[in-house]
Amino acid sequence: MKDNLLRRIWFFYVDGFKSMTIGKTLWLIILIKLFIMFFILKLFFFPNFLKGKTEEQKQKYVSEELINRAITE
């Protein structure tokens, strides 16, 4: 019963994708866009600023940033 349901869902999507006309162009646009976002932009232009820091180090870093940027004189 469960297998049958999964099969039906699977073929629902397969048939849907097969019968698409304009949708194929749209899927191509979506895939190109996601590739650019995650493999190019994320990899080369979005370095994780706090990466590699422990939670304590992050707190220390941000607190120093917030304190040092203030004008206290």
């Binding site: 304009i22 749209l26 979506i30 866009k33 994780n48 707190q59």
Partner: protein, 502 residues
């Protein structure tokens, strides 16, 4: 203790964020608006069983699909930017900002994605009732998604339901419902989502008018105009109503934004509303801002100098006094962290007390010149007038189109059809102008009163922000051109089957 941050870095980071957000908002409102209109059209099909209405629905679903596919995930870049360009902000806001975004991602996005598949693939495969439910749930998913994004944005405009924890250097959520249902979030949700509905209605009426001008698919166009204009009247009136409520709220919670939107240097009681230049409506600003003909509205100078009576009876602080309190809060944070390091319980308690007392003014400690508390007045002033002026025009247009359509005369009025067609870009301009008022009008704050942009920003190379700005500009423009080309092609092709059915 002053560490200078390059102002061009701030400007380029703001420009990059604004660019991304503005492109994102080209796609979202049409998704929100068309989703509802498709739902109404399919409901008519469900009730009447007419194949004509099925085809009308399917045509607009195709247009919805193009917009949805091209616009999908443009918001993800905004989330990247929070982590990279605004990392201090991201750490400072903690889970308050992350929680609504996570809910949006998990609940709303999956709901939307699941049912959109049934909506497109399910014709003739699932029951009519289930398909109708899927169409509506696609729209509901998009709307819930917008809710959580707007909750996050509203918190930046009016931070509530949190407590600053100096140990973690984060604001921690203490009242989920205060965040999720803050008055700012509720009003912003209705105002923003309904503005998307208005754009959807403008789009449907405009495209349908083009068919009438070309004398093609006339029955389809008339049926679409009937739904679009009726829906547009309701949505645009709600936008006007929520805009009025929003005005009172902004006057109370973000008075500098209100003063900038009005270009009001010196306020007072019974203040006039400036339409443009010297054209003023007596007492109108007081009515709009306070719902009282003689209500007090502070101007930019009043807000900087303080000394006027607040609605709660207290005397307003000057910018200088707020800056002093902000500095005290930041020094207290430094002392607290030092006391923790040195294990000095008494000093820790003292610092915590001072920090808690002055925390509402924390962000003012980063303000060097009180004049920098004034947002760009010209841009806010004119964006506000464009938004309100176009909003009024849309109400009028929908009523006129609806009326002539009802009298069966609209198809013989090419001038009005041309007006409706050329209103499509105006719908986008109004939506963008609304966000400019909301976001430019609250500068210099990343979080109102708590964190200005010069403290929220990451230490990046200005050159790398400039580079990514232009990459995004090119990428988004290509996507926009792709969308326009595919959409125009589909519209030109038209609902062929409908003509046969009709």
């Amino acid at each position: 203790m002053f560490e200078s941050i390059d102002t061009s870095l701030i400007d380029w980071s703001r420009a990059q964020f604004a660019l991304t957000a503005m492109y994102h908002w080209l796609f979202v409102p049409l998704t929100l608006g068309l989703a509802m209109i498709m739902g109404i059209m399919e409901t008519v099909y469900y009730k009447t069983g007419s194949v004509f209405w099925k085809n009308v629905t399917q045509f607009w679903q195709t247009i919805f699909g193009i917009n949805f596919a091209v616009g999908i995930a443009t918001g993800i870049i905004l989330e990247f930017e929070f982590g990279t360009n605004w990392s201090n902000y991201s750490m400072f806001v903690g889970d308050i900002f992350g929680a609504p975004l996570a809910i949006e991602g998990i609940l709303a996005f999956f709901m939307e994605s699941t049912f959109v598949a049934v909506m497109y693939f399910g014709w003739n495969k699932v029951s009519k009732k289930f398909h109708l439910a899927s169409t509506w749930l696609t729209g509901v998913g998009a709307t819930i998604s917008a809710w959580w994004i707007l909750v996050a944005n509203s918190w930046m405009q009016y931070p509530v339901g949190m407590q600053f924890n100096p140990d973690t250097v984060r604001n921690e959520m203490v009242d989920f419902f205060a965040v999720a249902f803050s008055p700012m979030a509720v009003v912003k949700f209705f105002h923003t989502v309904m503005s998307g509905w208005v754009l959807g209605a403008i789009f449907v009426v405009g495209v349908s008018s083009w068919y009438l001008l070309k004398k093609r698919h006339v029955e389809f166009a008339k049926a679409s105009i009937k739904i679009g204009a009726t829906f547009g009247i309701v949505a645009s009136l709600i936008v006007a109503l929520t805009g009025d409520i929003s005005g009172v709220q902004i006057a109370k919670l973000q008075p500098m934004k209100m003063a900038a939107a009005e270009g009001l240097e010196d306020g007072g009681n019974g203040v006039s509303f400036t339409v443009v230049d010297d054209i003023k409506i007596p007492k109108m600003l007081s009515i709009l801002a306070t719902h009282d003909i003689d209500g007090y509205v502070p101007g930019i100078n009043n807000l900087l100098n303080g000394g006027y009576k607040l609605p709660n009876g207290e005397t307003a602080l000057s910018a200088e006094e707020k800056i002093e309190r902000g500095k005290k809060a930041i020094v207290a944070l430094a002392n607290y962290r030092k006391a923790v390091k040195e294990n000095d319980a008494a000093a820790k308690a003292d610092a915590k007390k001072i920090l808690d007392e002055n925390m509402p003014y924390f962000g003012y400690g980063y303000i060097k010149d009180p004049k920098s508390l004034v947002p760009p007045v010209g841009l806010t002033f004119w964006s506000f007038r464009i938004m309100v002026g176009l909003g009024g025009f849309f109400i009028l247009l929908f009523i006129v189109v609806w009326w002539f359509h009802r009298k069966n005369k609209y198809q013989d009025m090419p001038w009005l059809q041309k007006v409706a067609l050329w209103t499509i870009p105006l719908g986008y301009i109004a939506c963008q102008a609304g966000w400019i008022v909301a976001e430019v009008g609250r500068q210099p704050w990343a979080i109102q009163d708590m964190l200005p942009v010069n403290a929220a920003i990451s230490k990046l190379q200005t050159g790398s922000v400039q580079l990514t700005f232009f990459i995004f500009l090119i990428l988004f423009t290509i996507m926009l051109i792709a969308e326009i080309c595919i959409m125009v092609k589909s519209i030109k092709k038209g609902p062929e089957e409908i003509e046969q059915q009709a």
